[in-house]
Symmetry: C2
Subunit: 413 residues, 2 copies
């Protein structure tokens, strides 16, 4: 069991449960197994709160399918869940994770349209980072034949969120311009691809310098996140942009609103600025909360501007919009089959490597999506390796690159 003292926050060894030695490849045939491997978050805090352990198989409920998981998506939000920096966090211990792909292993009543053996991707309200997941069919979508499980786990959340923000909340049309923060991340890359499906859309991307070579072709203009992007955007487009997509929050909200053209839409879809160090920092939290501009509607009236918030998970699990999301997924799968969009996978990680994967997303080292590959064996640590957390404290800039972890990281590109 994980030790939970404060002195353990820089714990570095893999916390692989001793019972996890057997080959996961054969698990599919053991339909009567009572236990499965899963990532557990023992409490809110640092990386040491995560471990892989055995857990009782979930029970199928009416309207649900049981999925033998092949791959899971890792999002910045999972990091905020770990820290407890989210609204209404669940009571730990909890299995994190909101999306996965895999094969349907069994179906309950009222699951018409799905059958055993279907390759699917799914949203889950927690519990995705496990070998087996049960979730209502409202949140399950069949995968195209040519889509890999890793792609599928990189597809659902990022592309649905990007699509709904661009086309449901805002109204992206020919000739418009979009500014997107974290352009190298999973949502950022999905936004860039979806913008390219509309004629003559200008995309202003903001990303760390070391990603620029890799993502330069995906956007029209690319800026370093450490420079004054407002001035740079205004040089190119003095009248501003039509849509701003912000996953940072804090001072970027005011800047985003200022950069909007009349009738433009600013959408807040994350608050990653609230995260600085490895554990929840009330200082960062308060700073971000204080910096975010409270908006007077009368100012919006005078300026003809729109401000919106978008949380796909709340939409699915709190606001009951699964059928709308399903219709969006249908459109996205058409675009995928027409080869107009394709998820960008940054890297694959074993469940036992979840801490290194989280550190990578914390350090903003990723280009595209981080995937937990359930069937992957952990990559052995090199002597020089260290998963010491950066404990960035209150510094605003992410560490330059991530040279240490690159060496042990199984990039797929």
């Amino acid at each position: 069991m994980a030790k939970e003292g404060a002195d353990m926050t820089e714990e570095t060894e893999y916390m692989i449960n001793k019972n996890v030695g057997k080959e996961p490849e054969n698990v599919e045939t053991t339909g009567d197994a009572k236990e499965m491997r899963a990532v557990i978050l023992a409490g809110f805090g640092g990386l040491n709160k995560l471990r892989v352990t055995k857990k009782a198989m979930p029970e199928l409920q009416d309207g649900e399918v049981k999925i033998r998981v092949k791959a899971c998506g890792l999002n910045f939000l999972d990091l905020m869940v770990r820290q407890g920096t989210i609204d209404n966090p669940p009571k730990p211990p909890v299995v994190p994770g909101f999306e996965c792909s895999g094969i349907i292993e069994s179906v309950a009543e009222n699951t018409a349209g799905f059958e055993i053996g279907d390759r699917v991707m799914a949203f889950v309200n927690y519990n995705a980072w496990a070998e087996v997941v049960c979730t209502p069919v409202d949140f399950v979508y069949k995968m195209p034949d040519e889509m890999t499980f890793a792609e599928a786990a990189a597809f659902s959340l990022n592309f649905v969120a990007a699509y709904m923000m661009l086309f449901e909340v805002a109204n992206l049309r020919e000739g418009m311009s979009v500014l997107v923060h974290s352009a190298g991340g999973g949502v950022g890359q999905a936004v860039a691809q979806l913008c390219s499906t509309v004629p003559n859309v200008t995309v202003f991307g903001i990303a760390s310098c070391f990603k620029h070579t890799a993502i330069r072709d995906s956007v029209t203009h690319l800026f370093d996140r450490n420079i004054d992007y407002m001035q740079e955007v205004k040089k190119i487009s003095p009248e501003g942009v039509d849509i701003v997509l912000d996953c940072l929050c804090g001072e970027n909200t005011g800047k985003g609103l200022t950069l909007l053209k009349p009738l433009g839409t600013y959408i807040l879809y994350g608050a990653s600025n609230m995260v600085t160090g490895e554990t929840k920092s009330f200082f960062s939290f308060a700073k971000s909360w204080w910096q975010v501009e409270k908006v007077n509607p009368i100012k919006l009236y005078e300026e003809n501007k729109v401000i919106a918030g978008f949380s796909l998970l709340n939409l699915l699990f709190k606001h009951g919009k699964s059928s709308l999301v399903k219709s969006v997924m249908d459109k996205l799968l058409c675009l995928y089959e027409q080869k107009k969009i394709k998820p960008v996978v940054d890297s694959l990680w074993a469940l036992e490597e979840v801490k290194e994967a989280m550190q990578r997303i914390h350090d903003r080292g990723n280009i595209g999506k981080l995937i937990l590959d359930v069937e992957k064996a952990p990559t052995p640590l090199m002597a020089s390796d260290s998963t010491e957390t950066s404990e960035a404290g209150e510094e605003e800039e992410e560490p330059e690159g991530d040279n240490d972890s690159k060496e042990r990281m199984p990039f797929i590109h």
Copy 2:
């Protein structure tokens, strides 16, 4: 000249300039006249700041047409202009009015597509309430043959604003629901008609009780503005509504946001709650400003909501969106020609009756649009009549009905 002492705020006599006796019908032929009749706002304040006087003809500028005005629209905003309750008011004396209809009398260079004799409607950045108006062709639209001048003056601002809010800012689609305040007003009636062009849209209208008989058929559900409309809407639609259109501001902003469904859009397009008495009340202004909820974007994120402001006049005259407005006008004229929409004219008033007309809009007595009919002669006052202003002070509710003024009012319905 108007006396401007505070003791004149209840002045009741018509302030007709002595030179205005000649028949306006023949003015069209006097193309070389140097002067015209116009309504002048001498300073910010009560009704006594308005008078009709002679004024030098405007000079045509490059890109402008000169319009012999037949009818002008009167909006609640004109009342706020009179009081000086708007952002960046012009320096008086000024001719109020933002829209008119009439016949093109002459054209400058660079006015391709328009010629003398064209029946047109136009937006003007002030100066509409006059016999002759010059305005750039960017703001001028040809009228359909079957449209009267009164209809045209009731059409532009209300229908363009309603259309852009429903279809450009929000994204009204089949099966959605819309809540509109001041459902009996010009914009309210335009909103109701445009909603009926989309299948299965539910309209919740809020209006004073005495209007209910007249407008009952234009909306799905109608509520008295003096009751707790939130409870009534929730009884019918517990999950809320998709779009809230608010021209009141103040406490209605918070209520509107609360009533939104996830992904719903609240649009503020006016702040008539800032007006209570005849003159600007800093108390009402401050109360409205204080009551309006400053919105934290993080709350919008958690609730998946959208808040927008919409000011058509700023869009046209400050934000340079005249070509977008022109494309909207084209769509609206199609709908008009298909007889799907038709402006509702409340009443016609002579220029000299502008004070009575303004009092009627202040008292929310109108159903549809108030029109200043430039060729109309003032209706003689009856002995029992009074244009005494209501000086409502800080009371929130408008006076019940407007029985006095009805008697001398030339309703067209």
